[in-house]
């Protein structure tokens, strides 16, 4: 048998916190051979990044391998001094980090950094650098070599990082959430590239990610980490089809995917929260959250048990863990198709003037503007969820901020039940404010750290609900129950809550005064899948109970197809396709929708990459520079017309509908 490139034996890594050493990775053993891609999945706090850094011997200050060994090509590197590690790092150990911009030196040109990484003779190194950039599909390597990191788009930066990781003969490649900071369409292209390069160079690879779909696509085997322990290790296919640990099963059941809808086949989130590193349960660490747990689980820590010669699980009762069969509980609730129209935007436009340089000021050049929104028409009915999807920079957030009144639109109008809304919050009536509320993206900033949860929930009741303080206080337990938080949380301060709990409080606060319409701006994007599932179900329940409408903004199409009744797809401030969710997404017609939807699949439609900050085309279709299906001149010269596909479904494209329907790649749509 060949020696594996990476062998980890009983590894425990601890961080120094104050005077204590808190173990964040405990007794993990695994091996990775050349050409093998081991996916490492887990939610935040599972220790997956720490594991990745530990095997590279690149732990940050305070981190320390307290027991166990790491072998690289059969050599024990656990206690090698830095001087001995350095040649190893230079030659064979590589890391692609999550945030490429933070990893690149902002003061050096890309070329310099690549040449330094490659080392040796400068002329040879330059040639190698150019070859590497060409290999990672960078169209103009000479120009990129001369660029500074900030001049490149996120996708390009990550390609440079990959190029840097691939020079020479990499033996072990650790990819730590390599695409998490990228848009789905860019992510798709970068993952394609990674898969190709791994197949070509055959390094042993650790692919660390919270994104199960991505791991399913690229990894040959997958390790599931929970609270620092390896709970399951299996060939990727077996893991997804027949998980043998309740946690893995819970993760899969929390994951929105085709076929699941909030009103039938709802998600099944995992109850409870991750244990704190200092306060682990005595028996099985997952027991407090596990439906199968009994006294044995609570007292006796299960060893890693072999299901077969390829699959291991840390569960006493793995035989009872069934495959993934989402419980079907068809809801009787039907969504009103023709409910009252709550919100209408008409020709909503927002332009943001750019700062002029002094010379432009003197020359009296008019300021250049960025079209954040171009003539957006929307209709949202009561008891419906309108999902707005698009990449970053597509104007989704600007749209929500204009509706709520935090940003003043340049032109166009917003009507709330046929009454025009003032452009800014200051000029709207209290009743209008009550009817429209919004949950913002970042749960960490949603709550004032100085105020208790109770105080945060009381304010909207007083301001918008018209209650006096005493009556408002009485309502707080009800609100906490609504978002499934313990009543005792009213006394807590935000610092004592997890991210998911903060977002629940933010949702409770927004719902406190019973709004008619709730705007959710990437409200679940920063959360782990199990928490995300719980919040999606919560939103669905509230909608069934109260008939509220949601404007749900996200980049995640799986979430939209799970929750939304209607979908609008935005590209560069314009709606390019809209209609009922089922019609828009199954199958997608507009090339942009198709690219977004098939980004997670290996054979999906890929967009052309354009330069960072490239100006949008002046005429014609705004999407045309990136469109892989562009017809030619007509797309460049003429703005595409709206094409009606029936049932309120329409899209903006020059390609005739019949043709769009036939050029679909059906196998790519359902991964």
């Amino acid at each position: 048998m060949t020696v594996p490139v990476l062998a980890v034996n009983n590894l425990t890594v601890a961080y120094r916190v104050g005077r204590q050493m808190l173990p964040v990775v405990r007794e993990i053993s695994l091996t990775v051979t050349a050409g093998d891609v081991l996916g490492v999945v887990g939610e935040s706090g599972s220790g997956k990044s720490t594991l990745g850094l530990a095997v590279l011997r690149a732990l940050p200050a305070g981190g320390h391998i307290s027991s166990g060994q790491v072998f690289i090509d059969g050599t024990d590197v656990t206690h090698l001094p830095t001087s001995a590690l350095r040649p190893l790092w230079a030659r064979s150990l590589r890391l692609v980090p999550q945030n490429p911009l933070a990893a690149l030196n902002p003061t050096l040109r890309i070329g310099e950094q690549l040449i330094e990484a490659i080392g040796g003779d400068r002329t040879t190194a330059t040639q190698q650098a150019l070859a590497l950039l060409t290999r990672v599909q960078i169209a103009d390597p000479v120009r990129v070599m001369r660029s500074y990191p900030h001049e490149l788009s996120g996708g390009m930066q990550q390609r440079v990082m990959i190029a840097m990781a691939l020079h020479g003969e990499p033996r072990l490649l650790v990819l730590d959430e390599p695409t998490t900071s990228l848009d789905v369409t860019t992510e798709a292209a970068v993952v394609d590239l990674l898969a190709e390069l791994i197949a070509e160079r055959q390094p042993a690879t650790l692919f660390i990610s919270h994104n199960l779909g991505l791991v399913a696509r690229i990894a040959t085997r997958t390790a599931v980490l929970y609270a620092g322990e390896l709970v399951e290790l299996a060939p990727t296919e077996s893991l997804f089809q027949q998980p043998r640990h309740p946690y893995t099963q819970g993760l899969l059941r929390s994951l929105p995917r085709p076929g699941l809808r909030y009103n039938h086949h709802p998600l099944q989130p995992i109850d409870g929260v991750l244990p704190a590193p200092g306060a682990l349960p005595k028996g099985c660490i997952f027991a407090p959250r596990c439906a199968l747990a009994d006294d044995r689980c609570r007292n006796e820590r299960p060893p890693l048990l072999a299901v077969n010669d390829k699959q291991w699980t840390r569960c006493h009762y793995w035989q009872q863990v069934t495959g993934d069969s989402p419980a079907s509980s068809p809801s009787t609730a039907t969504t009103a198709l023709n409910g009252e129209v709550l919100l209408t935007t008409t020709q909503l436009t927002k332009t943001i003037p750019q700062r002029r340089s002094l010379t432009d000021l003197i020359r009296r050049k008019p300021p250049s503007v960025v079209q954040a929104l171009t003539s957006v028409d929307l209709k949202l009915r009561r008891n419906r969820t309108l999902g707005i999807v698009g990449e970053s920079g597509s104007g989704k957030t600007t749209l929500a901020r204009c509706v709520i009144g935090l940003t003043e639109p340049s032109s166009g109008s917003i009507d709330l039940i046929d009454v025009p809304l003032a452009p800014t919050i200051q000029h709207r009536s209290r009743e209008q404010l009550r009817r429209l509320q919004m949950v913002l993206q970042n749960p960490q900033e949603a709550l004032n750290p100085a105020l208790t949860v109770g105080e945060a929930l009381i304010r909207p009741l007083i301001r918008l609900g018209g209650l006096d303080r005493q009556r408002a206080v009485q309502h707080v337990p009800e609100l906490l129950q609504l978002v499934k938080l313990p009543i005792s949380y009213a006394e807590r301060r935000p610092a004592q809550l997890s991210g998911g709990e903060k977002q629940r409080v933010a949702i409770a606060r927004a719902l406190a005064a019973a709004p008619d319409l709730l705007l959710l701006d990437e409200a679940v994007s920063a959360l782990d899948v199990s928490v995300q599932a719980a919040i999606l179900n919560l939103l669905a329940d509230v909608k069934t109970d109260t008939g509220i409408a949601y404007l749900f903004i996200t980049h995640d199409l799986a979430v939209v197809s799970y929750l939304a009744d209607d979908v609008a797809v935005m590209y560069r401030g314009q709606i390019v396709e809209e209609g009922p969710a089922t019609a828009v997404l199954q199958p997608p017609l507009h090339p942009y929708t198709e690219a977004l939807l098939t980004a997670t699949s290996a054979h999906g439609l890929r967009l052309r990459e354009v330069e960072e900050g490239a100006a949008p085309p002046q005429h014609g279709c705004p999407f045309q520079p990136r469109c892989p299906r562009a017809l030619g001149d007509i797309c460049v010269t003429t703005p595409p017309p709206w094409r009606e596909a029936g049932n309120g479904h329409r899209l903006r494209c020059h390609i005739p509908l019949e043709e769009l329907q036939t050029i679909q790649q059906p196998e790519a749509i359902t991964p």
């Binding site: 709520i404 009144g405 935090l406 919050i425 709207r428 209290r430 404010l433 429209l436 509320q437 919004m438 913002l440 993206q441 970042n442 900033e445 949603a446 709550l447 004032n448 750290p449 100085a450 105020l451 945060a456 304010r459 909207p460 301001r463 918008l464 301060r493 610092a495 004592q496 933010a506 606060r509 927004a510 005064a513």
Partner: protein
Amino acid sequence: MNFQSLRRAFFADPATATGTIIVFCFLGMALFGPLIAPYSPTTQNADLIRQPPSFAHPLGTDRLGRDLLSRIVYGARDILSLAGGGTVLAVILGTLIGVSVTYLGGWLEELVFRLFDGLLALPALLLALLLLGAVGPSRTGVLLVIVLVYTPIVARVVRSVVLSLKPRGFIEAARMRGERLGYILWRELLPLVAPTLAVEAALRFSYAIFLVASLGFLGVGVQPPSPDWGLMVLEARNEFALAPWSLYVPATAIALLVVGINLMAEGVRRAIRGEMAGY
């Protein structure tokens, strides 16, 4: 932050404890001056001029035979009340301006802070001399100078905190539910500015002590025969060869008080950083 944690912060580490004790000693002097001081600070005695420290006069006497210990004790009143009062006023004014003007933003913010930048561009002492030259040396004048010099500094510090808080979600949430300006400023923003403000106030206080002493030394502050420390240094300067102690005593008092306040401020800073860790 509650009282216990504050008390613990003040006495946990020896440096902070020393600073706190020094400051409290001077505070005690200021409050109970007449009980502590053995003589009147202004009574002259021609028989006892320039006496070195002795049992009768522990810190010696000056060129007019006044007891230096009594003068230091009474002088603590002036310096602490002027520096303290000035600091409190500057902190209040600076916070009011800093929080509200920064939150409102726009041209008003631009105007106010450019003006403050202008004030800050002038050295504090020069500004003080100009102002006191105009209104004449007096206690009120000194107080005004401290307020004028330190308000812009406090406002700037407050501004930096408010700027980082303004775009946060919870402020936007408050706007979305139509909170009044007052609520946003004083209930949402002020508690988050307060920790930074406490540190800044302590720091300003120690600088204010220096400023009051410097003005006394330049002769534009508190006027004779008041037992002002800075003034005492000025008067003793010419006598240095004859009675060096009369210079050392007030100079040491100033240094001791400033060092004490700084040690205490450092303790406050550390305690608050611990508290803020959760934010």
